[in-house]
Structure formats: C-alpha cells, structure tokens
C-alpha cells in the first residue's frame, strides 16, 4: 500500500457506488453496507466517511473536522485513512 499514490489535497472523495453508508441507531455507529456484508466504522472513521459526498476536497474535509472537534493537525491521519479507504474501494475520487 505504501507504493500506491497518496490522495491529493484537492481531490473530492465520495462513497463508492459499491457501498451504502448509513447511521445505525442500534449499533450507534456508521456502517458501510455491501452485498451480504457490513463494515462497522469507529467514530472517527464515521466522521470522515459521512463527509465523503463528492462536494468537499480533502483539505476542506480536514478543515471541517478540525473545526467540529476543535483541534488541529488532522491532515496526516485523515489522508492515511482515505488512502486505506480507497484501497478498500470504500471511496472513489
């Protein structure tokens, strides 16, 4: 995976058509649904994924998260999550 190109800051990720992202009340989490399967996302993964709707660039997404959680320096973590998410085909850019 280290050899795959990293996601660029201006790219606008969105949840891939192969998956459906939805909030599950019973599990208190965001999940990714696909044919006969489900990935349960942890809280931070959920916060990132729900913002992957093709309208925000990676930079904008990071800025939004930093503001929502009143913190800084999330870029590297978010980018590495998005790289993984793309490798899993959860998102498209």
């Amino acid at each position: 995976m280290s050899e795959a190109a990293s996601i660029v800051a201006t790219a606008k990720p969105r949840v891939s058509a192969r998956f459906r992202l939805q909030w599950e009340e019973a599990q208190q989490s965001w999940v990714l649904l696909y044919p006969e399967g489900m990935v349960k996302l942890n809280a931070s993964a959920g916060e990132i994924m729900k913002r992957c709707d093709g309208s925000r660039s990676v930079d904008e997404l990071v800025a939004e998260l930093e503001q929502a959680f009143d913190t800084r320096g999330l870029h590297a973590d978010v980018a590495s999550f998005l790289d993984m998410a793309r490798a899993q085909h959860w998102i498209e850019v």
Binding site: R18, R20, Q22, E24, E25, A26, Q27, S29, V31, L33, Y34, P35, E36, G37, M38, V39, K40, L41, N42, S44, A45, D77, S80, F81, M84
Partner: protein
Amino acid sequence: MNAPVQAPATSIGPPLWLLAEITYRCPLHCAFCYNPTDFAATTEELGTEDWLRVLREARAAGSVQCAFSGGEPLARDDLEVLVAEARRLGFYTNLLTSGVGLTEARAAALKEAGLDHIQLSFQDSTRELNDFLSHTRTFDLKRRVAAMIKANGWPMVMNCVIHRLNIDYIENIIDMAVELGAEYLELANSQYYSWALLNRDQLLPSREQIERAERITNERRQRYGDRIRIFFVVPDYYETRPKKCMNGWGSVFLTVTPDGTALPCHTAKMLPGLSFPNVREMGVREIWYDSEGFNRFRGDDWMQEPCRSCPEKEKDRGGCRCQAFMLAGDAAAPDPVCDKSSAHHVVLEAVERAQRPVQPVAKEAPLIFRGPAESRRLIEQGRKSLAVD
C-alpha cells in the same frame, strides 16, 4: 484512526442479519438443496402483512442486512412489496435466486422497489451437467438473468455450489462467471445437511479433486486480477477444526422460515427437544433475547468436554449444532469435524469413501433430487420408522 472495524461486544448483540425464507416453493430440484427434507409439510406460508410486520420488528431490533431467499423467492408475487418495505426501513436488501421467474418486468419492479443486490446461483456452466444437476433447463436463463442484473446496475454476485460432480469443471464455471460480468464469485462446496446429506457420498469430492480445483482457482485469480473476486470454500469434512457456525448461535443471524418459525439457522428445526417460536405468536425482540430456542446454545454453559475446557472454544464455539446432532447424535456434542471429537471417525469414513475413483455420473448411485413428492415420501418413511421403533 486506523482500526475502522470495532471488536464485537460480549453481550448479546442485535440480530444484524435477517434471513427471510419466504417460500419453500421452487421450480428446481437441486440434489444439494439446503431446505429441510420434510419441506412439503409446510402448507401455510406467512402472508404479506405478517412479513411486513416481521420486517418492521426486525429492523427495530437492529437488523440491517436482509436476504430474501427460499425456495425460490420469485415464486411469491408479493416479493416486490416486501423488498420495497425493507428498503424503506433502511435494510440493505439482498435477493438470493436461481433466476427462474425473473422477467424484465419483475427486474424493473424490483429495481423500483430499491433492491440493492441479487445473488444469482448457478448450478454449473455446461448445459448437460446443469440440466442434470438442477433437473430443469435453466442454463440459458441464467445467461439472460445475468444480463438483466448488469442492465439494472446491480452488483453482480454469482454463487455456484461445488461438489464431486461439477468440481472438475471449475475452470468452465469461473470463465463463464467472468464472461457474464460477475464481480464476485462464490465457489462454496456443498454442506452436508438436508438433501445434500442424503446425497453425501455422491457429492463429496476427493482430496485430489479439491486440490486441483484450488490450484485452478488460484491460476484464474492471477489471470483475471481485479476483474473478479473469487471465494473458494473447501468442504469442512476436510478440516480438523469446525467452522464457527452462523458466527455463533443466536449472535448475528435470525432466520424466519416460510411458516413463520424463527430459527438461529435455517436447519436448526431438526434439533430435537428444542422449541422455536413463531413470528405469528411472538415479537422479534422477544424471540431474539428471551426465547428458549435462541438462548439454548449461547454462552458456554451448554458445552461438554472436550469443548468446555478447550482453549479454542471462542474461535469456533464448538462448531455446528446441527452437524453435531446429525453425525454424533447429540446437539451439545462437539461438531464431529473437530479431530478432538469422539465421533470424528464418522467424518473420516465419509472422506475415505470419497477417495474412490471419480466415475461417470451414470455409474454412481442415483441422486435423490429435491421435490415435493420426494419430500412427502421421506416424511412417510420417517413416520414408518418411528412406528417400528
């Protein structure tokens, strides 16, 4: 941040998976059919309103994946109504079908209803063998249905039950799946329950057959790369540890059979001395958390030795309760697939018999094909043997 999948909680979680077996009716006659051999005894199918209520109750209890299966689910003409409600409730909706009964019009109606996914089962890729194995002429139809799935933009998932009689054609099956545009292909060896148990000796492949099939599957994976993901499942009879059946009894799966019986797995009704609730009489939440049937094999109080003190018990939960009952005569025994089971020899003997040379189909003992008449005959036979006892 880099652990997106959380570990499951230890307490009883919600019934994440609802398997709605909406009918036992099916135009096909698979010799490996997983429906109970006495399916013909079911005459009263749940009505539309009952199913709609089950969907609502299950969703409220936390179910999120819903599979409509059977039988052949397309045999019910209210399938579209059920799918639409399931989708509206937020289920991810899966249809498990042989494709028989799927017309362009019904495909469009299912799309309109919001169906998320169709899994098309394929008995085989060569026409003669396919006709033989499913006893009807369905092969051309599968091609047409595959095209309809593509045209409607559904993910294309194919499933082919593998066994002694078709495993040597695995390259044809894989190539065919690729040609039809399948993105996923499940090549799962038949599991020996119900009809497949009756036909076990004719269906269990030899070790050599399995090794060849695995080798060829790997070659094809290399060749096709990202175009298709292929899953190959070896028969558990060739393992020394059992599968974690249904991911643990009453942990994830809730099956509702055509007559409304709620089960932790679709074959659990065979287990003696256990009563399972019916959705006509009990709500889904109560069924899941409080009923005797669903609690019977939760936790590990029910376990016997060697499972009880086994360091691997969380890994496989002692295997399959139905297999333990069928092969060891005791639903609380270890699954005889486990080499620590005192009944493991039953599995070894079946495997031993499977090493005989592979013969043309006509020379093997005749298969028992699933069908209502055969089912009634088996019910009658069971009654007689009870009377003799």
